[in-house]
Structures are given as structure tokens and as C-alpha cells.
Assembly symmetry: D2
Homo-oligomer: 381 residues x 4
């Protein structure tokens, strides 16, 4: 049995690889080791432990390391701590492959620990471009990885272009899209299950979903940016669901903006959730009139669903997208106008840009069968 | 005044950027901050503090973090500690640019700390290929850096090819070659100045220099590899100078091999040094009949000097080289035969593959004048 | 000049040693190095940097290390990080004495770093008893320290009793009491200066001050405990000033309790502050009708002021106290009844149990003159 | 089943608690978790993993954290790293009690991690006095611990005197003495089993054992001190067994002193071992004419064996001792004279000062039955 260690550092990353975890766990030749760390252990950013338990996925270790996010050294120090403690886990549990996901700042810790210990490293979602600082982390990890499972054909081409060996770069589609194809229709009461605060719109009527994170390199603007979105949405006066931001630098500004706005607008017709199981989230997504903000969900998942998306600002600037996305700058008027345009348009055709729903199975299959000759991987193609 | 922070993690890195440090320190518009960390603080791997003091170069901080090298988590943990403490230094001293050098495992810590704190990162010696694990670290840092000072035209072309903006990649030549052009003739007594152990060959007669480090991904073979080199040299029965290996994984095997061999061969005609000021080292290099081992010195500095080099094994496999290098596998017969071939050939013509001797000045000039608009750097070219 | 390094880890610790800092800074034979770390760098727990700047006290380094407090490893990891980075500061700045204050969990990091580096350690406020887990940290630091500046005669006797040398234990009184003797009358507008939220009571009328922290070993009860206090105060319907809790384990429960209560009681006649300069705080204290909660302020500062104090629960159980304190269990009825009793009593006579107002000067004087023969300190008295 | 987690940081600590480990492991109501960390994982200081495996004792985790000992921040940073990673282990494995042993600098990390996580802490060998810096660490841990298993009646009295509750302090004797009572006669060939270097004395003839560690607070003198011992022994010209020093600060000087002496005295009639299984060590001890150096073995184990001991310098100055010990200063003449005196005297009567051989059983029994009411432990007796 090959031991496959997957390190999950954030709520968003968990959703992105849930089907990979399930497929590895079910595979007769693979033993799954899950490490949960970073903001994925902190309630207010979305503790994923209950979701893993609900799916009967085994947690091999929790490694708390998130520094208080007010500090501008917090992301560096969280990353440094992660390198140190992941090395200890690897020394004790000797995985055959370590899997890291996407491009958050702290994911590079997984890569560094694995490379320093000569353990083959697999990277999911490499080769993409978003146009912000995440590109640097993602590309940096691609350079460290031994094995790449990419979400799009373009991403594969880009890694080939850098000189990586074709045997090492596999187009599997994005595992987050798998969930979209497994979705059920909306059939649950989110207010009962997830609590949260604010109005409780009837989700059988048209509603928006808003998901806006701080932009790491614009963290000083996060409060102003969220304010513009809040005022645009308020002007629209349409109900909706709002998700709190992740733990990136600038998150205090985003959260303060939301809190102050809520204090001043007690009748704002939105409900605010901290976190939601990804299947439930997909149900709400599938059912919504339009998604607004700067999450990759609007571009990735919604391309497969045909849901109109308003993508605000620079966070997803370079990301490959289908026809369902309208971009706008973080300005109240621009946001309002873009949402109106999308509501007028309605649903888009579904496209398979990010995969066909079998990425998890493909990745597990590759992990079970690819020969790992570490020395060969280290030589240029 | 722009504050330029240079992080030095190893003896070898210091030699590589000595002329950059001097040029920054002398520049009227630049304030130099030097951080010394990792093996560069440890006597048996070559503590560089005395050399910095001798050059009147200011040390802003020492950050001891080298774990005992026996552990296979040592390099990961040293890297993690470096990320943590460099972040604190950056938070307290707010450099305008952080400079990292080359490709040792722990240099990526500098890159991660700088990127996480939104401080522009300059990388020296990116874009090269050696054909071993160092490539991964080097390329990974290139992906994180905002500014690149490369040693060869090929290296620049490679980074362009990855899509980096031409304004960000500067061909300056390699600062380590600057020293070669500043060299004096052999005029000092190394035994008096540096101590060391073993025979004391007369350096007016022909002699070899040996510099063989463990190969990170072949650390289990380091003792066997050094033994083969030792026996080849012994068979040749020519005097020489041997330098102890650096602190990479496998160094215990290399050191044990040397110690055991010395115990069994008390008359071995070599002298063993731990460390040497780089100007003195260049003098000995310039004067030697042939350099043997797997240091980049044989390929880089010796290309500019025309010194015959025998390059053993995989450590420098892909590195761009001039006519002075003969490769061989780590086998006693192969090494012996390669050395004999080089001794028979003698000096080669000097080539400027790695620069013309003005890299330090060029780099300091760029650092003083390049506009740093961080947000722009973060966007793809 | 002796270099005296004072490490401050929390807002409360700063207030406790402010007069020591001022006296060291003013002393002609002492050079002051201040390190700010832990929650003392985080806005929502009371960032002390602005206060230090306002006093022209020099900050030698900031060391951010507070982990997100939700984790039950947070206090351990913050302590571990502090040991690591304080060691680096000590290695770079070589203080002659390191000073640590009181008994918060992370203060032991200062002690460990100093002892491991053979730097004499001075401890302020050792030898006291509070009856909770803080005793263990405080006593543990006393065992590590070379020099003790204690707040009460009883504390000195207790350290003597353990076998410490009389030359090493100095009764100076508590520096936090110095501030009480420097107090001015209430003459500022706290709402303008410090913002905060809630009602704005007229502070010329009688008012309460509430300061209730989570109890580390009862962290699961922190929400229930604060709720009982909130309901007791609400039943009283008297205006007041409430200070947010510090960053100890359980703080999330305390903060949630307060937030939820405020949501349900929009007319609650209290104003909520996060932090306040200690001189201003003393003004408000001096002027208040009664202090309620579990802060040591009610016992220490208020003994010197004669302000009635209601001390709730176990946090200060064993602390030496004057006549002004009434204890009660964390029960709504008990708290309400105790406050009523204190309001009926009014002011108490002032006592000098914790010093006469010159502790800062005394401590600075000792630090300037005590002979430091490290070897001798290490031998038993 | 109660989970008992024992943290072992050094070869010496392992020997001291071997019988405790065995007794816990054999106990039907206890589940043993062993963590190996610090120098106990490093070959040249005595990697204990092989010994644990040989005894079928389960290793729950290895946590490599020893910094390169040349740095004067090494012991602090090793301690800081230990706190961080032990907290993670405790969070993942939730021991019911954590056990720490004796007084080495890094043992306090175990105490801090346990206390910060509200896990009851048991300390073995508290309450003793050695008269050096170890006292501070030991006493500091005693202040943090919930439960104390002490080696002598005096030690128990001392902890009582500090105010600890009688229910928390148990006189069990020292587990290291248990081994002495289990000893067999000398029946193995140490040269075959343990390798080592140097002469191979016939151990049926009279021989010395030397065990001299650097003194932490005198680390600058470690080379000079070992030299004096070496010259005293050389003057005696009696064969013997020498054990390399532990990893404390100053160890480089001690090791260099030994290496240089061996180079100059190729016929020195001693054999040098790095490490030895404790049962074998006891055999050699039982059989030797005199033990020389500054290890506690000469005072503790040898009191039960009646072996003459020469105790050099300040390292064990205050330790409670039986009649078998002669003290001397670290001077060649003084050492030589003391050894001669002891050789002339021969064996001493055996005393039970440090226990009767059943400490391991006693401690395991207490751990299985003592009620752990954490809150009560936190209150003063």
C-alpha cells in the first residue's frame, strides 16, 4: 500500500480536493494520511474537522499554527512553523507521496518539507494563472513538485513549456468540479444547520451569493473594497447569502467593513455564514441567480454550472474562464452595473473547461500506479 | 537611501556575492543590511563573520538556526526557523529589497519571508541548470522573485522563456567571477593562516585541489563516493589541498570517509582546510594543476581561469560549462583516468561565459535605480 | 552602561512596569532595550507601541508571535516561538540583564531564553500567590531568576523561605502602584480619545468599572462566567465602563458572551473599551464607585486608592489583599449582592501593602549597582 | 487505560527512567507513549532508538530538534522547538499524564507544553540539589509539576518545605538505581558490541571509568578541564574506559581536548565509547576500580554499588552523596591524588540513599491510581 499524505491548510482547499480524498481513501492500493493545519483548524475561518468526520475521512494529525492575522509576519511565521512540524510528521509517518493543493501562501510549506526530506511531491492545480501574488506561490510549488495534476489543458501546456517532463504532468480536470457533477437540488435549511447571522431570505426566490476575500497585495484596501461591494449590493436591494472572508492578510479590514455595515443596516436582506459543507454550498450555488465577489468559485465551479458570475478586482485577473464571467473594478457603480447585466442575462451554457467530474478518481488512479523513481524525477526531462 | 538586505546562509554563498556586498556598501544611495545565518555561522562549515569583519562589511544580525545535520529533518527545520526569524528581522528593519543567492535548500526561506511580507525580492544566479535537486530550489525561488540578476545569457533566455518580464531579468554575469579578475598571484602561507591538518605540500610544485560535497539526493552514498575519490587521488600520489564538505545532508558520511582514510593513510600528501578567505582561495585555484570534485567552482570560476577541472558525478550535471571541464562518474578508475587526462592537457583558454568581472557593480547599480512598484511586479509580464 | 533588556508580552504587563521603564531610561548608567511581543502587539488585545512612543520609550525590537487563540496549543506555541526569537535578540544585542514581569504564561519564555544564554535574569512581582495556574508560572520563573524585585514583604519572606539568598531578593513595592501615586484627577474625554462602542455614561455621576478575564484552567466556562457578571450588572442598572478581556485561553467565550449580550441589550448603559493608556485608566479608576471582575487591579492598585472591589471567582483567590476587597463566586446573585454591599460601603482607607510609589526608581537603582557575578548567582545561597 | 506520555531528551535520561518505562508498559491499566527528542536522537550523543527497540518499548514519536551545538543560542532554540512540537503531539494524542525527568535544559520544554495544555505533569528526580545551573531548571520544573516522584527523603522534605502538598510528592527512590539492583556480572565483550576507538584493556584487570561532561556555566573552560583530567589519568598509567561527553554547551571543547590528546598519545591505555546500553554500562561500572569525572553516576549509582568515585569540579557540587565520593577541583595534581586515594581505599559499603531498586514499579503504580483532578492540583495545598 502506498501511503499518500494530503496536507489541507484552509477550508477552500478542502472543498477543492474532497473527491481526491474520497477516491484515495476508497482505493485498495492506497492508504490515506490527512494532515489538517493553518486556518482549516480555526472555527471562524471554517474548521474542517467536522466535515472530515462526517465523511469518515481519517485525520492523521492536526497541526495548529495560524498566527493571529493582524501581524504582517503572520503568514510567513505560519509557513515557517508548518515546514518545521510537517517535517516531523513526515519523519514519523514516512508517506510515499505528499500531496499539496493550489496556491495559498502556506501550501509552499508542504512542498518545502517534502522536498527537503526527499519525498515525492504531487501538486494539484498547478500551471494556472490568476494574475496576482498567488501565481508566484503556485508556480514556485510547481517547480518543487515531482508530479502535477492540472485542471485545464492550458495549464498542462504551460508546465510543458517550462520544460517539465510529459510523464510528470497529468491533465485530470479540477477535483472541485467533481462536486458540481455530484450535486443534488437544494433540499436543506441552511439557517438551521449552519446558524449564522442576519436576515433569512427564502431561497426559493432569486438570490445572490457573495464571496469576497481580501487581496493579499492590496490588504490596506480591503475595508474600502468590501464597502464598495456592500453598497452596490445594498443599492440592488436583492436578498442573498454572504460568506465571511478567509484568513489572508487584510481579513480584519474585510470583516470590520462587514460588521460596521451590518450595524448601520440592520435590515440588510442578507444572511451571513462562516462556513458550509461543500455539498450544501454547491446546492446553494446551483440555485442562485448570480455569484458576486472574487472567489475562484465564480470562475471554476460556475463555469460547469452556467451560473452568472461578477468577478471584482484583481484577485482572479488572469484565471482562465468560460463565458459566464463578467469582470469589474472594485467600484460601487461598476459592481452594481455588472450584477444587473448578469441578472438580465440569466444562466449560461455549461462548459467543461475545468474538467468533467472525474478528477478525484483520475488522481487516485495515477497515485496508485505511477512509478516513483525519485532520482529520475530530480533530473530534468 | 534604499535599504538592501542580503541574507547569507553558507560559506559558498558568501564567496559568490562578495563583490555585490562591497559594491552595495560603497554605493552612496544604498544602505547595506547583512544577515548571517545557517551554516555560515558554524565554525566547522566556515563561519564567515571574521571575513565580513575583515572587509569592514556590516553585520546587521546573526540568526543561528542550523540543526544538527544528522537528522533528515534538519534541512527542513533549518529552513522553517529561517522563515520565522527572517520575517521578524524584516518587520523590524523594513528593507526596501531583499537579496537571496543561488540555490541552497535554505535560501528559499529568504524568498518566502520576503514574499509573505510584500518586500521586493532579488535573486542572484537564477535561470541556471545543474541537473540535480538544486534546480528545483533555484527555479522555485525564480518564480517567487521580483528581480533577477543572472550569470549567463542562457540563464536569462530561460527565465524569459518562462514568461518573466524582460525588465525584471538582468544579465550581469556572476559575482563570483569578479573575484577571479581581482586575483593576485599566490603570495601567502595557507598553513600558517588557516591551520588545518595533514601534509604541507610545497605549493610552488604542481598540486591538485579537491572539493567534493555530498549529493543531497544520494546522501546514503556520500561515504562510498568520497572513498572512490580518495582512492583515485591516492593512486595518483600527487600532493594537494583538500577542502572539507559543506553542511548538506550526507556530510557526515563524507566527513567520516575522509577521517577514516586519513587514519589509514597517515602519509597521504594532502593538506585539509575547513575554510579560506575567497581571495586566498582564488590564489590557490589559479595556481593549481587541476581541480577535482563536484563544486561549481570547477565549472564557473575555472572557466574564467582556464584551469582544468574534473567534475565527478551528478551534482553539476546540467550546469553550463566551458571547454575546461571533463566529467566522470564517481568511480575510482574513472576519476583517476579523468585527472590524468586533464594533467596531460594543462591549461585551457579563458572564456567569459559567466561574466567579465563587473557583476557586483552592475547589480548594485540596478538595485539603486530600478523602480520598485510592487504591485506591477506581481502582475505577469 | 549596563544594557537592561525588558520584555513586554501584554498590555497589562506594560502598565505594571511603566515606571520601571521610565526610570531605567532616565538613569545615566543604564541603557534600556525594550522588546514588545505576544498580545502586546495585537490591536484587539491592546497594542502598546503607541503608548511607548507617546512616552518616548525606545522599542528595540518587535517580535510578533501570538498564535490564533482558538487553539489549545496557542499558548504553548507562542511561548516556544518566543524562546527561539528572544534567544536571537539576546545573541545580537547582548543585554547585561534581562527583566521579565509577573506571571503570564509566555513570560517564562523570557526566563528560559536568558538562562540558556547565561544572561542574568531579573524578575518583578515574584513570590506572590494568586491561587491559580499563574502561581506555577510565577514560581517557576522565580526559580530561574538571578534577581528578584518583589511587591510585598510577604512575597520577599516566601522567596527567602525557599532558600534564595537575601542579596538576591529586594522588596521594592509594585511598580504598578507607582502610577496610582502619580495620578491626576479625571480630566479627559475617554470616548473621544479611545472610541469604543456602547452607551456613553456621564463619568461625573457614579459608575462601575468591569474587567473580567477568562480563567485559564476554566476556559470552557468563560462564556457562562461572563454572562453571570453581565446579568448581575444589568440587574443593577448602573452605568459603567467595561474593558475587553485579554488574550488568555477562553477569551473567545468571554468575547462572544459580551457580543451576544450587547446584541440583545442595545440599551445596556455601559461603554466598552479595548485598551487605555495607564494614566487615563488610573484616572477612571480613582473616580469610580466600585471595580468588578477578576483583574488584579481591584486588589493591587485599588488597595492604594481605597476603591471598593468585587473580586469574582478563582482567578485572584490567593492574592494578598487589603480591606477594600469583597470576594464572590461567579454567580449572578452573588455578584449582584457583593456589588450592592460595596456601593453601600463606599471608599476604604488607603493602604501601602503593595508599595509606596517609588518602586520604579528603586528597581532601576538596583539594576545599576548590583554586582553581577553570574557564577555566584548560580550557586545556592 | 490512562495514557502516560514520557518525553526522553538525552541518553542519560533514558538510563534514569528505563525501569519506569518498563513498569508502565507492563502495567495493565497504563498505556505508554514515548517521545524521543533532542540529543537522544543523534548518534554521536547516543541515539536511544535501538535500545528502546531492543526492549520492545514503543516509540510514539521522534521529534528531531537539536541545533548544532556550536551556537550559544542552541540550547534555547532546541527548547523552544520542543515546546512547539510537544504541544502538537499532546493535541493529537491527548495523554492523561506527561512525565518529564531530571534537570537537563530542554526538559523544561516538556513541562511548559504540558502546563499550557492543562495536562497533569509528573516530574521524576525533583527536589535534589547539585549546586549548578541544573538546580534552577530542576526547581523550575518542580514548580510547574502536579506530581513529584523523588529519589531521596531529603528531596521530598525540600519540596514539602516549599509548600507543596504531601499528596503530590512521593518518595519512590531513583529509577536509575533499580538497574543497579538488576545487574548481572560482567559477561560481554564491549569492544565487539559497541566498537569505539583506542586501546582495548583487559577488563578482568583493574580499570577506571571516566565520564566527564562540560559544565554549562563554565563552557569556555571545558577544553582546559578535560585536559587536566586526561593528564592526571595519563600520569596514573592505568587502563580504562572513557565515555564521550553529552551535548551540553562546551561539548565541542571537551571533544576537541580528547581528540587532540589521543592524537598526541597513541598508546593511551583507554578505550573510548560513545554510548552503551545501560545494563552493560552497569556491568562495567560494577566491575571497575574507580569512576572519575563529573557524572551523577559516581554519586547515585555508585552509592548503591559501593564503587569509589572521584567527583571533579562544580557540576555535582551540592548533590546528596554517600561515603564513596571524594571531591576534587579540576586540577591535574588534585585529580591524580584523589584517584590514588580512592584506589588505595577500594570498595565502600553499599547504601540505599537513592532507593532500594523498586522505583520504577512504585512510580507506575502511583500513575495508575492517583486521582487526577486537575483543578485541585492547581490550587495551593
Amino acid at each position: 500500500m502506498r501511503k499518500i499524505c494530503v496536507v489541507i491548510t484552509a477550508r477552500a482547499s478542502y472543498s477543492r480536493i474532497k473527491t481526491v480524498l474520497t477516491a484515495i481513501h476508497a482505493h485498495p492500493k492506497l492508504a490515506l494520511q490527512i494532515i489538517v493545519t493553518g486556518s482549516a483548524l480555526v472555527d471562524r475561518y471554517g474548521n474542517i474537522i467536522p466535515y472530515l468526520e462526517a465523511e469518515n475521512l481519517p485525520v492523521s494529525a492536526v497541526i495548529p499554527n495560524l498566527l493571529d492575522v493582524e501581524s504582517d509576519t503572520a503568514s510567513a511565521k505560519t509557513t515557517g512553523l508548518a515546514v518545521i512540524e510537517l517535517a516531523t510528521f513526515f519523519a514519523n509517518h514516512r508517506p510515499d507521496v505528499v500531496v499539496t493543493v493550489a496556491d495559498r501562501f502556506e501550501t509552499i510549506a508542504t512542498a518545502i518539507a517534502a522536498v527537503n526530506m526527499n519525498i515525492p511531491l504531487a501538486h494539484i492545480q498547478g500551471g494556472e494563472i490568476t494574475g496576482n501574488i498567488d501565481d508566484r506561490i503556485r508556480n514556485s510549488i510547481s517547480q518543487l513538485a515531482d508530479l502535477h495534476f492540472v485542471a485545464t489543458e492550458n495549464a498542462r501546456a504551460r508546465l510543458m513549456y517550462w520544460g517539465l517532463s510529459p510523464q510528470k504532468v497529468h491533465y485530470t480536470g479540477c477535483p472541485s468540479i467533481d462536486l458540481v457533477f455530484q450535486h443534488k437540488d437544494y433540499d436543506f435549511n441552511p439557517y438551521e444547520i449552519y446558524g449564522g447571522v442576519g436576515s433569512q431570505p427564502d431561497l426559493n426566490d432569486p438570490y445572490l451569493i457573495v464571496l469576497q476575500h481580501p487581496v493579499t497585495t492590496e490588504k490596506g484596501h480591503s475595508k474600502w473594497q468590501i464597502n464598495n461591494t456592500l453598497h452596490a449590493i445594498a443599492a440592488l436591494n436583492m436578498p442573498g447569502i454572504w460568506f465571511w472572508p478567509n484568513a489572508d492578510p487584510g481579513t480584519a479590514g474585510t470583516a470590520q467593513g462587514i460588521r460596521a455595515f451590518r450595524d448601520q443596516h440592520p435590515d440588510f436582506p442578507f444572511h451571513f455564514f462562516k462556513n458550509m459543507e461543500s455539498g450544501h454550498f454547491i446546492q446553494l450555488l446551483k440555485n442562485c441567480a448570480c455569484i458576486v465577489g472574487n472567489s475562484s468559485v465564480g470562475i471554476r465551479e460556475c463555469s460547469a454550472l452556467g451560473i452568472p458570475a461578477v468577478n471584482i478586482g484583481s484577485r482572479q485577473l488572469g484565471r482562465e474562464r468560460g463565458p459566464n464571467v463578467v469582470n469589474c473594478i472594485p467600484d460601487t457603480e461598476a459592481i452594481l452595473s455588472a450584477i444587473k447585466r448578469q441578472l438580465a442575462h440569466g444562466r449560461y451554457p455549461q462548459v467543461t473547461l475545468y474538467g468533467k467530474g472525474d478528477a478525484g478518481e483520475h488522481i487516485a488512479g495515477h497515485l496508485a500506479t505511477i512509478p516513483f523513481i525519485l532520482k529520475k524525477h530530480l533530473l530534468p526531462a
